[in-house]
């Protein structure tokens, strides 16, 4: 009898838990991300006219003086990925809660930060349990599809200030013609280089194709310099080089390559991808990359570069502060995108949307109203909060009339303005594929795998997660 009672109790608890956690029957809309295989400039043209018609018209812009506080005290939760620690105040952790509370005494913002992997899972789990953050930052295109499909994030197409942002960037957070994220800016993957070493090795012009890039590496090596340092112990760093190369090696001939992966017309095992990985692997094979990089972290590799131990490092515009920091050597820095194209091919470079601000669809009306106020205040040029955002962000802001204060960034984007840009390739892939690439490529570095095997691994993972 006792056993029966225990069994029933356990069964009841199990059933209750399963009902609480299960979601197999949830009704959710199917959504399509806006053109995952488009470039930043080109995506604008593809917006369907019918979708445009469905979009709610933006509300009128309200001056910051006209913004009125919410009727009762409310605490908003904001989630962001871990901020780099600095001596000065951080925008998300300090300025945003402080200035919002100053303007709207009834609104308090509590900020939670987590490292990227934990962050992604925590945000998803919080929403799945009905406790999602009121505001959070997230990635574009395919990476946001599940949150939109599940109905967790709010359609902000009628947000009055959305028109102030570069339309082509804003559309990367649009699904079925509806905007869900306020773009916080853009960034690019790039190759930082030591101008003094380049000059000393006789490199007078930046490489325009892969062969020229190899020549540059050869000249540096011949002069006794280590051409490249990579922090391959942190496997994600491998993406920085591969995506720069892939932009010019894969997409000029087929801009829809990523979209076609889903229809089976293209595969990661196609020659273009094998060629890209082979080009990257050659840099290690020919001894252009410092030895033992699998024992070096990203942070250690950055230190190596600024200490003048290597001539180049694959990183990004987001690493600006770290790269410009003083090291053991004093030298002039520069940036260029590794060309993946052949001599007769077209030069594509990486330029990608950074995160966007998303707002919860499952919050109550008071929280939604408070979120609207925060966004209207934050993204209004007249507000002190906007000023602090522009001053402190590491992204390249894509807001009308705002120019990046970093000369090197502007010079870089200006240099490539006539070339085609491409997003971070993993933006168009499901989770797991980029990890398959980086993990397997570590085996290429150790000599235990071939570029073909890397591509097979990516394709296998892609098929597994999209099945």
């Amino acid at each position: 009898m006792k056993r029966k009672v225990m069994s029933l109790l356990m069964a009841a608890v199990m059933t209750a838990s399963l009902i609480g956690c299960g979601s197999a029957g949830t009704d959710t809309p199917d959504v399509e991300p806006a053109a995952p295989a488009e470039t930043i400039e080109e995506v604008e043209e593809t917006t369907d006219a019918a979708e445009e018609a469905d979009k709610p018209a933006p509300k009128e812009v309200v001056g910051i003086d006209a913004l009125e506080d919410v009727s009762e005290p409310v605490t908003l939760s904001l989630m962001v990925t871990t901020r780099p620690s600095t001596d000065s105040k951080d925008f998300f952790l300090d300025w945003l809660p402080e200035l919002v509370h100053e303007k709207f005494p009834n609104i308090t913002i509590e900020v939670e930060q987590l490292p990227t992997d934990e962050y992604k899972q925590t945000v998803r789990m919080k929403y799945a349990s009905g406790e999602g953050p009121d505001l959070f930052t997230w990635w574009p295109q395919l990476q946001a599809v599940d949150l939109v499909e599940a109905g967790y994030v709010r359609d902000i197409s009628d947000f009055s200030l959305l028109g102030k942002f570069d339309q082509s960037i804003a559309d990367l957070y649009a699904f079925d013609g509806k905007n869900y994220g306020v773009p916080l800016g853009t960034s690019f993957l790039t190759t930082w280089y030591n101008k003094d070493m380049f000059a000393d090795a006789g490199v007078t012009e930046l490489p325009q194709n892969y062969d020229e890039f190899v020549e540059v590496c050869e000249k540096l090596k011949a002069k006794g310099y280590t051409p490249i340092v990579c922090g391959d112990k942190d496997a994600f760093v491998i993406q920085y080089g591969v995506y720069q190369l892939g932009a010019g090696a894969i997409y000029p001939d087929n801009i829809d390559f990523d979209a076609q992966l889903f229809t089976g017309e293209t595969k990661f095992t196609d020659d273009v991808w094998v060629d890209t990985v082979t080009k990257f692997a050659n840099l290690y094979e020919k001894g252009y990359v410092m030895e033992n990089t699998l024992g070096i972290s990203q942070q250690q590799s950055r230190q190596s570069f600024i200490d003048g131990e290597a001539a180049m490092i694959f990183d990004g515009s987001f690493g600006y502060a770290a790269m410009m920091a003083e090291g053991a050597a004093d030298f002039e820095r520069g940036m260029f995108c590794i060309p993946g194209n052949d001599p007769d091919g077209e030069y594509y470079y990486n330029w990608t949307p950074a995160n966007a601000l998303f707002t919860s669809n499952i919050s109550d009306e008071l929280h939604k109203q408070a979120c609207d106020l925060v966004m209207q205040y934050w993204f209004n040029e007249e507000s002190p909060l906007f000023e602090k955002w522009v001053e402190n962000t590491t992204d390249i802001i894509c807001y009308e009339g705002v120019e990046d204060p970093r000369e090197m960034i502007n010079e870089y984007l200006d240099r490539y303005k006539d070339s085609t840009n491409l997003y971070n390739l993993n933006n168009a892939w499901p989770e797991g594929v980029s990890d398959a690439l980086t993990t397997k490529f570590q085996n290429v570095i150790t000599g235990d795998a071939t570029p073909e095997e890397v591509c097979e691994q990516m394709q296998m993972k892609f098929e597994e997660v999209t099945e």
């Binding site: 197999a24 599940d146 496997a235 030895e291 033992n292 070096i296 972290s297 797991g432 990890d435 397997k440």
Partner: protein
Amino acid sequence: MPTKKVRKVLLCFLIPALLFYVIFWVTPVLMSFYYGVTNWKGVGDYDFVGLKNYRFLIKQGTLSNALFNTIKYTLFVVIWGNLQALTLAMILNMKIKAKGAFRTIFYIPALFSTIVIAFIWSYVYAPYDGLLSEIGRLFGSGYVSNLLGEKATSLFATAFVETWKTSGTMTIIYLAGLQNLSEEVLESARIDGCSAWQSIRYVKIPMLANTITVNVMLGLIGGFKSFDYIFALTGGGPGTSSSTLMYTIYKMAFVEMQYGKAEALAACAFVFILIISTITLGMMKRKELEA
């Protein structure tokens, strides 16, 4: 002897704890078996996929790689960890000067957090400027340490850090065991002409059987749930050469968003750890009785 009625009342007091245990331990474990046969991504809809997750784990070699790495890691932690701690305890149990200070010093690593230790050791192992490379340079050997970047050594180099951290705790346990040994027995061994080694081999170690069981089980638990040092030092790499069961589960669920597949692997890990722990505990208990 409490009456039947009193026993029933006493059993009622167990209900809150039992409910807690069922809800927060039994249910999640059972649910991991349930989700293991779905394609749940941690959010949104899911479908039942039968044994597909288990098939993938076997076909892709993920299960065998994670299991094999976990076994290697655990063996290193148990064997080296115990040898190291037992030796230290024997030394610290001798009549030496500043014994108290040495005992404190050897316990210090246990006081640091995992992340601090991992950070320190990443610089000890780092190529070129790391401590090991510097020592090599000092002796003019030209040795460049890359223990975390080599497939053959990354797992053991990480396990070594774990034993370095736990050595203090294990040493204290052995020290307590050694101090509880009967002086009469040790003295009679000496009178019977036992050498120092014979006294250790045939008297002290058998009499420490209980303590060894505790430390071996601690080592086993530490080895099987090895995650933190792997996460902080190697990220499971190079490739998957240091991916243990727990790290692989984490990566599958939190990086690749394959929650269902991660649950399937967690279920395999649960069964594997249960079997190994039961066998080991049984063996150790038998040894204790023999001793």
